[in-house]
Assembly symmetry: C2
């Protein structure tokens, strides 16, 4: 059974890579850059986006940014972001299965017709909250960014190395809580460097706004 | 492609159910009760176990409790628990694939020979940190328990309903942080009741010990 399963997985990843390339071609044709934003559930992706898009003036004279929201069920996050008047489309991963734990290239592809790609500088894809499978499925993005909350503990890079290696930028979020946690930031960064030496990291608090300037600068550069 | 994929998924779940029944028969023969403990990454499962097993005197005259640790990679959690002198075995989900995001019945089965089931009252299976797929794979357990951290936000039951429905007990952890968060506990519990009306919930802080008495009582009853 195991060999069959590995073959099925390889076939799935091959098919995914093909569709990811098609997405990528569409993104390039439209002149839109794409960020795949990943994290564990509750690390603060949506709040970070809310605060950053408002700060950047997206939908209000700033860079033209759209969002593709991936969730197993519901439209809670899309509803939160829609109030910013940026184009938002929701993809739910539950049809046909108990719920996929990640976005794949085909799910992203199915949502593209609902987005005005030609009129966007940047598309942010908010992936399903999960530190394993999202790292294995490219969706045609230019950049992979992850959010790690300090409430999750210092050991997470060692326990989910593929995710921490897959990203070019790690946003260390909720740093406003550091005084109330037993979290050792130096040890987290040491563990991060063990699995992805020198990866860019930004310390942020979506709640207080600390560090959001640097993250918004990064988004501005990514938007081209 | 979609229909093929659904069939493959159904085959995988069928095979899983068969092996889960075999595990269950082995657990019953050995007279050991089994708890499948699930959560998002960093919700505090391992710290909860460390504190609860010490408090229960497991490995020191209390109920005889063993632990099966599921992680994509590494033995960090198993190493932490081994210091309590309880039987601990580690299952890594990464061989043969980039890393499975959940334990399945076969992975659990592969680890059983390493555990002294006949000399245990209770086996706690700490699943991979993930709010999606672990809920879909029974492993032969008697009870499914999840840990939800208050740092993850009030919306999680609505976003990951299968997980919150699959469990008979929800441990709401890290309540010592409530004064420092914008987390609305009443709204979380309202959302929890929306997807799993009346499910037992215990408010706990692994860090301060608050609420651990009730959770340890639950474990004592589960151990029989």
């Amino acid at each position: 059974m195991h060999r069959t399963r590995v073959r099925v997985v390889e076939d799935v990843l091959d098919a995914n890579a093909t569709i990811a390339r098609a997405n990528r071609a569409d993104f390039e044709r439209a002149g839109v850059r794409v960020v795949n934003l990943m994290s564990a559930p509750g690390a603060g992706k949506t709040t970070l986006l809310e605060r950053s898009l408002a700060r950047l003036g997206a939908g209000n004279g700033g860079p033209r940014i759209g969002v593709l929201e991936g969730d197993v069920q519901g439209t809670l996050d899309a509803d939160r972001l829609a109030s910013l008047h940026v184009p938002v489309v929701q993809v739910n991963t539950d049809p046909g299965f108990g719920g996929e734990c990640h976005l794949d290239a085909n799910m992203v592809r199915s949502a593209l017709p609902a987005l005005p790609l030609d009129r966007l500088d940047l598309l942010v894809i908010e992936n399903v909250g999960n530190l394993v499978c999202p790292a294995e499925f490219r969706v045609g993005e230019d950049h992979r960014v992850m959010v790690a909350s300090v409430t999750e503990g210092e050991d997470k890079p060692l326990k989910y190395p593929l995710m921490f290696r897959a990203c070019e930028l790690v946003l260390v979020n909720k740093i406003d809580l550091l005084p109330h946690l037993d979290f050792d930031l130096d040890r987290f960064l040491y563990n991060l460097d063990a699995v992805h030496p020198g990866v860019t990291r930004l310390l942020v608090s979506a709640r207080t706004g600390e560090g959001l300037g640097a993250w918004c600068d990064w988004l501005r550069v990514a938007a081209g």
